[in-house]
Symmetry: C2
């Protein structure tokens, strides 16, 4: 084998199921998306799903991780972009979350929020994974707020973890409302109140 | 017939399906609760469902209204309780929403939020009804805020509808997180930030 020839490997059935499955679940919800829907979207035989995943729950846990390490994670990285002042990063993070809603006509919402509403009481492993991922998000926002405190943009007595938790859940709620109203207005409203009242 | 004898009518199959169906859907989610689950919980024959509801969607619209006119509506009434100062009403409303989460071990969350996450992209009539009910909630909060402005507890330039929208969506997000974490801490955090920062 010539080591200089790099061949892009064809995606495996497992990868196709994860990539297309994530898209289908994000659009339709985990409860609504059947295994048949997922394998059809991936263009693989139905048996392929059970070859690669011991259960729909195991598949659900993997797409949560894929989402978190993908687009969701790339938005979180904005919070650590030291080219911007800390509160500018926070604004850019909320704006990126809002702008992403326009993909798919705002109907998809946040995958984590959707899983929480429709699956957290049906699967303890999924609920626990959601809590972990939410915790990591809260931590990333809190570190950005701590940088704002260090730079003097927020008062020294700011409880960064508490405030980060409220910012995180308020964004989730605004994104849920955007999905109902098919409008980003709820996120814009939150952004104004965040900068005019909460962080002033 | 003797008009002095008042007989409490037995609940009809339709009423049983609505009451027990609301409970089952609130616990399991609309997508997860099958018609079979609902008629089993109601203790009525399966055919009874199709006798009374043209579709699961029609049933979903009715339980949304039942929820809104029931426990949800009684919480909204707190916002109009003139025995309390306006901002005390708002605090009591958030606290009542939090305390209600303890029923069912916090797993149920808010029926409107759950419907939004799991069903609003599958049914346009359900999405539209959710938007109406959310609009009525926002209006009730805004009127309470307007009363606070009138009493001098909030500045005259307060944009009551905007602020009401943010309070509403932030509560939804905090309730969603309570459902994930099985803890009312997210709602308590929001309550502190609301009174210490947003309304100060």
């Amino acid at each position: 084998m010539d080591e200089h020839i790099k061949v892009m490997p064809k995606p495996s059935n497992r990868e196709k199921i994860l990539t297309e499955g994530l898209r289908v679940v994000h659009e339709r919800g985990f409860a609504h998306a059947s295994v048949r829907d997922i394998v059809q979207a991936a263009g693989v035989p139905q048996g392929s799903f059970t070859n690669h995943f011991v259960s729909k729950e195991a598949f659900g846990l993997e797409i949560l991780d894929l989402y978190y390490s993908g687009t969701y994670g790339s938005r979180l990285a904005i919070l650590r972009n030291e080219a911007l002042a800390p509160l500018d990063r926070l604004r850019a993070y909320v704006e990126a979350s809002r702008d992403r809603l326009n993909n798919g006509g705002m109907r998809a919402g946040c995958l984590l929020g959707n899983f929480t509403a429709d699956s957290s009481e049906h699967s303890e492993p999924i609920r626990e994974r959601l809590v972990e991922l939410y915790g990591q998000t809260q931590q990333a926002i809190a570190e950005c707020l701590a940088a704002a405190v260090a730079s003097g943009a927020l008062p020294a007595e700011t409880d960064c973890m508490e405030l980060a938790g409220v910012i995180q859940t308020s964004m989730q709620g605004a994104i849920l409302m955007a999905k109902a109203q098919l409008s980003t207005a709820p996120v814009d409203r939150f952004l104004r109140v965040l900068f005019e009242k909460i962080l002033r």
